[in-house]
């Protein structure tokens, strides 16, 4: 491993930490513009986190240590996930430690801790949120894995940087299997990050919320960590999407040391476009009833399966 690879690795994690709240802010800004509202500033998420860090933490009397540990675990798993995903370069020293399946496992760990923490106090909302989150998860997780498997079959490895590199250096064509899985991935991204049409991050309406219901008992620093973690999660999902579907611009292993300098603006451009696209999708879609969520996700799963079948049939 060259020193530049270590630099890339560190830079990726730091960038994820720094940019994730901004990315969320950007999506919210775009949404506001599309809905003819006045947009909050880009750093609104930072402000919220700062505000939360200046408050007393209030914890339910019957909360167990699990409740207090969960925010740290969720945050750390998202940070580790950021280290696995090749957002800027594909020669990452950490990548042999965890492949794409382990990455999905990381997301599952975060989800499980979030759900368990939500059930800990025993409020009706907490358990409701946990149940719905697991309901979304049990279909979203295999769909995400299928998306990754299609990419893994194309590149015959499950190491995410190697997949990304293989796809980046291939011919510039839209392979039909990736088109199907791209649709599936977008649907999973929406569901997993609590976006419309599954969940609405802007609402606290009891009957519809999922993610916010789970966080209802958290306050101050714990809530700040959870909010930060969910911003990181959105960023991570976006970067997985870039690695699989728009891998161009990252520093591949053949590239020289200056490729990293080019990779940073490339990532910025991708994030700006992706954020706008996400806001557009959210603005154009209506919230589904909770019981329709499994249908939405089953569709995503079937799209991923179709993608795999298409790949096996056509070899592309």
């Amino acid at each position: 491993m060259r020193p530049i690879d270590w630099l890339t690795q560190v830079l990726e994690v730091v960038a994820a930490l720094a940019v994730a709240p901004l990315f969320q802010g950007w999506v919210n800004q775009c949404r506001a513009w599309l809905q003819n509202r006045r947009a909050p500033p880009l750093w609104q998420t930072y402000r919220a986190i700062r505000k939360l860090f200046h408050k007393d933490a209030v914890i339910a009397t019957n909360a167990s240590p699990l409740f207090r540990v969960a925010p740290y675990v969720v945050f750390a798993t998202m940070l580790t996930a950021a280290a696995v995903i090749p957002s800027m370069g594909t020669r990452l020293p950490f990548s042999p430690a965890a492949d794409a399946i382990a990455l999905v496992g990381l997301f599952a760990t975060a989800r499980m801790f979030l759900a368990l923490a939500a059930m800990d106090v025993g409020t009706p909302f907490g358990t409701l949120g946990a149940r719905r989150e697991m309901m979304v998860g049990f279909l979203a997780e295999p769909a995400l894995l299928m998306v990754i498997f299609v990419a893994a079959l194309i590149s015959s490895t499950t190491a995410l940087p190697a997949i990304s590199e293989r796809l980046a250096t291939g011919p510039l064509v839209l392979s039909p299997s990736l088109a199907f899985t791209g649709v599936a991935f977008t649907m999973v991204l929406l569901a997993e990050n609590g976006r419309l049409p599954i969940d609405n991050p802007a609402t606290h309406l009891e009957l519809t919320m999922i993610h916010e219901a789970m966080l209802l008992e958290y306050s101050a620093r714990h809530l700040a960590l959870m909010e930060f973690a969910s911003a990181l999660k959105l960023m991570n999902y976006a970067c997985i999407g870039f690695a699989l579907f728009v891998p161009w611009g990252t520093a591949t292993s053949a590239a020289g040391p200056f490729a990293l300098a080019a990779a940073i603006p490339a990532l910025a451009v991708k994030l700006v476009v992706a954020g706008a696209a996400l806001a557009l999708i959210e603005t154009a879609s209506a919230k589904l009833r909770v019981f329709r969520a499994p249908e939405f996700l089953a569709t995503a799963f079937l799209f991923a399966v179709l993608g795999m079948l298409v790949h096996l049939l056509l070899g592309a």
């Binding site: 750390a76 368990l116 059930m119 946990a130 499950t158």
Partner: protein, 668 residues
Amino acid sequence: MTVALGAPLEQILALLCAWIAIGAVGLVRPASLKIAGRTLFPLGAVCGAAIAVVAAIHLAQPPERMILPIGLPALPMHLRLDALSATFLVLLGAASAGISLFGAGYFRVGQGTAPGLLCFEYHLFLASMGFVLLADDAYAFMVAWETMAVSSYFLVTSQHRIGEIRRAGYLYLLIAHLGALAILLCFGVLQGGSWRFTFDAMRAAHLSGGWAAAAFLLALAGFGAKAGLVPLHVWLPEAHPAAPSPVSALMSGVMLKIAIYGMLRVAFDLLHGLPGWWGLVPVALGLFSALYGIVFAAAQTDMKRLLAYSSIENVGILFTGLGLAMVFRGAAMPTVAALALVAVLYHALNHAFMKSLLFLGTGSVLHSTGERNLGRLGGLIHRMPWVAWLTLVGVLAIAGLPPLNGFVSEWLLLQAFLHAHEVPYPFVDMLLPLGAGMVALVGALAGYVMVKFYGVVFLGQPREPSLARAHDAGRTERAGLAWLALGCVALGLLPATIVPALGTVASSLGVGSLPAGGGPWWMLAPLGPQSISYAPPVFAGTVIAGVLLTMLVVRLTYRRPVRRAPPWTCGAGPLTGRTQDTAEGFGQPIRHFFTPWFAMRRSLPTPFDAAPRYSVEIGDRIWRALYEPLAGWVDRGAAICAVFQRGRISTYLLYALATLCLLLALVL
């Protein structure tokens, strides 16, 4: 020690006999809990640990044989210790060590079987499983197999005064015997006309395609019945809740694996000449069992039934991997076949630890609260912190979360599935990779089920006032739980040292071998260092470092105090145990999504009911569609036969005379 005691096979034989002796000592004073609990069970645990150590040391050595002149005159018992049986001996010894330790503190004097007798049955059960693993001829195998079935039957029915438990035991014994019959017939086919029933003769026999298929299907039925493969799974959710918790742990964690061992022994060692695509049968059955098991687990409200259904899921995964290995072997893909086989062995080890841990955890809860019903539990993490935190390890492991052990075997299996498109059979090469999606779906559902299990039992508010009196597990019980939890962590963090050892099993069976030199001890790279890899110690270290670093940063930057306050209830008054989700409620989305799978009886209240009641009863469709008609036919057949059963000696003499006349007429 090893020098003085001779060959490893002899040592293991001595340790198995020690188990029987320990059990026999219990019979001397059957009513004494002190002898059984304080002395014999810990001794049994030591024996188990010793067996695991001896078997682990000799895992990679060439097979060793022995002929014991016990039994019928011309039928001595053949014993053999090879890599496959050593692997399962490690499983048996290591898992049973934890369970016996727990059992030392668990068994009480009650209305059921006396502790000394229970101790005897328990250790006989353990020893018989060991003999199944060592048996090298059909005769020894069947004797040990039946001893295992009968001793476990008595353990299941230790609370025999309860009618429901007697019925569960009866169902278990019935299916166990049907399975044993199939296995017996399978051995009958496997000897291939040589009429010698040693396993060596079977290895040498050449079966034609049809007979090989018959032997395979018989083995699948026989071992599948013992393992709980759908549709022969019905005894599992009945027998596991009926048995005392250490026995459920032993049956679910260890005995089901003995059935897997039998299947592996037949499919990869004894049976030759079967085309590889027959492996698709266990793949299909396994995937179906896995999904069926986990979907039903999500709907259960009894914590032991929930775990029993989860065992069906895991057995399904094991059979899937086994079939996959057969397909790959048939397709001349030795490396991937070895990978699939290693995934099966690894998952068997994993499941032995995590499911035993969970069953013992439920045992502690059951002891302390007297409740098995999820609807009457909750909030136990405050009253039973040891049990709760140790069970959490098992919960996270069985949900397949990295860096614990369940993830490793899932990872290996998925890696094997990713090569499924290379098999040379048309259509199969397209359909088989989709199995990976099914495995992923089952894994995600397992997470759902485990959140439900843990959340309802240990988290939230207590659902009954009596739960305030719950107490934590005793010291030996904690030690047993901690042993198993440690096993889960070790299997999760050190796959790079364990996978090559399991690889020797694959190569000794002639399935194929994994490439040598996979990497350093912390890096699992089963297909060579340049390919896929997973490094659990680094991975776990990073996550833990992330947690600690975040805590440190927060500690340094955050100076506000932490206050305790009642939970936020939207101003609706204090929370009670009834305001949170019930187990039924938590499983509802799954029931909604998989509605056609369940036979549901539901009664919904109307708005005008004075005392509105909601009740739902979940039934197994396979039970209603297959077993109830079958039982009906058997009943009717028996009724017809009963016509001949007059109970008068003169009638029977008449039958005898008629038969004699008929035979004479035929002969003359």
